[in-house]
Amino acid sequence: MRKALSTLWDGRGFDLLLVGIPLIFLIAISGSALVYNVIMSFQEVDIFSLGTFFRPFVGLDNYIAVLTDPQAWPIFGNTLIFVLCSLGGQFLFGFFLALFFNMQFPGSTYLRGLFLVSWVMPGLVTGAIWNWLLAGDFGVINFFLQSIGVIDDPIFWRSSPDFALWSVIITNIWFGTAFNMILLSVGLAAIPKDLYEAASLDGANAFRRFYTITLPMMRPTIGALLSLGLIFTLQQFDLFAAITDGGPNNSSNVAQYWAWQLSFREYDFARGATVSVLMITLVIIAAVFYVRSTRHEVRG
């Protein structure tokens, strides 16, 4: 008995304790919520049966209800547009900034670090600020666009069905660009400088050096970053809550926000859980790619 106890601070037991408690906690909360989510998606759940564990199972009814909902496919389509455009925008701007700040100059690391304030701010505050920047009548974005002659009339970003989703995408690109830039900078810094020197001696121009050295050397970083970006984009909730609330008429709604609306606005917890299961499946597939692309680092 004494031996068993002493191993807790001086042996295997110590390690098991340190790693065991957090993992048990995580599995108890996140893991069981995940399982419970799947179970709920096959049950009939309403506000009255919320407090009971034993609810009637309804088979695939919830899935059929979700997938035949006339709003479902437009919302899934929005999710796809939101993810692709956010990812693309964050990555392109992030890569451009990373390349720029990679040209070491005095103060470059400090300036680069400042960009990350977009990432540490509360999402709701970011949403509030962009809400005002993108306002139709008095928004400063419209003022800029009008003064350089891109548009003639102000765009009602948040209330027009054509632009509502874009106002969230633009905000999300701003939000995520800095994170992309920082991680891409790490990848750029890891490329040996003599590769570029050798290529210059061989007469390769800047474009060719980028294409034949930078891009191939960055492949693992880019792969990890895109899957991480996909995961983060599918987590984005605060910006929708702050800017458009999914409207007008679901034109800017995405699946992760819809799932929450179904549960907490319509109190249809079963369908909320069903949409969640569908989306979480997608996130987990992305996560497997992410873990695979960083596997050598994880082991090393």
């Binding site: 807790l8 110590f14 390690d15 340190l18 790693v19 408690i21 957090p22 993992l23 906690f25 995580l26 909360i29 996140s30 919520a33 995940l34 419970y36 989510n37 919320l50 407090g51 009971t52 900034l97 720029f100 400090y110 680069r112 670090g113 400042l114 990350l116 540490v120 509360p122 505050v125 509030a128 600020i129 005002w132 920047l133 008095f138 003022f143 003064s147 701003w174 991680l183 900078s185 790490v186 991480l228 995961i231 599918l234 987590q235 909730f237 809550a241 702050a242 992760q256 799932a259 929450w260 549960s263 907490f264 969640s276 989306m279 996130v283 992410y290 873990v291 960083t294 680092e297 994880v298």
Partner: protein, 275 residues
Amino acid sequence: MTPKTRNTLLIACGLVLAAIYLFPLYWMYVTALKTSTAMFAAPPSFVPPNPQWDVFAGVWVERHMATYLKNSLIIASCAVLFIATLGSGCAYVLARYRSVWVDVGLFLVLMLQVLPASLMVTPIFVGFSQIGLLDYPRIAVIVAITAKAMPFFVVLVRATFMNVPAELEEAALVDGNSRFGAFIHIVLPLARNGILVSALLIFMQAFGEFVYSKSLIQDVELQPASVGLSTFMGPNSVDWNRIMAYASIYVTPILAAFVLLQRKIVSGLTSGALK
């Protein structure tokens, strides 16, 4: 082009890029200081004509920000405390060994990191209500945030522990320390900076947390500042200078902490996030 002109040119470009990127923040502060008429002036003024400094005090009192910020602080501090206590040990063990089980543990942690809060909130709400945890909504939110953010903390801090030489720990063991003693007296102090920086990063995220608080806390007295901001921002709000004042009060401490410590935060983030 001499190196000097090149540097000057690059610094200028860098400053311009930063100015464009950070313009939204500038606009938040400028709008907060504007009067209602100045706010809707066309063309907009980029320096407020007669700044309204008392707007901050007004919004502070009127929107009950003291209560909201106190709740945010309580939630974020408790969550960080739990995460740092539980997560540091987990990260240490996952950094120290290489085996199939460590790989399994890491995989599990990474998988739990990716679950979106907005999709997990339905089962968490229903589950917590069944075990009665919703009667203590702040604890419920703290538990939910802890489960959500701990994996990220583990991933970041694990990178820190990997940089602590195992030889130092072995030497301490040879000198007669127990594993527990070596961990407390040798390993933890050496990893302190990394742990603090990661904890600060988690704190910043928890301080702005929204979806769990909004869904699990019904009582206005217990809600954090993010929920308070969302109720302030109705669909037809015109109070933009006051909303921006609220936002300024809310984020300025975070921004100040970030700017002061940004070197450490950025290096902590880059060493861990891609691993």
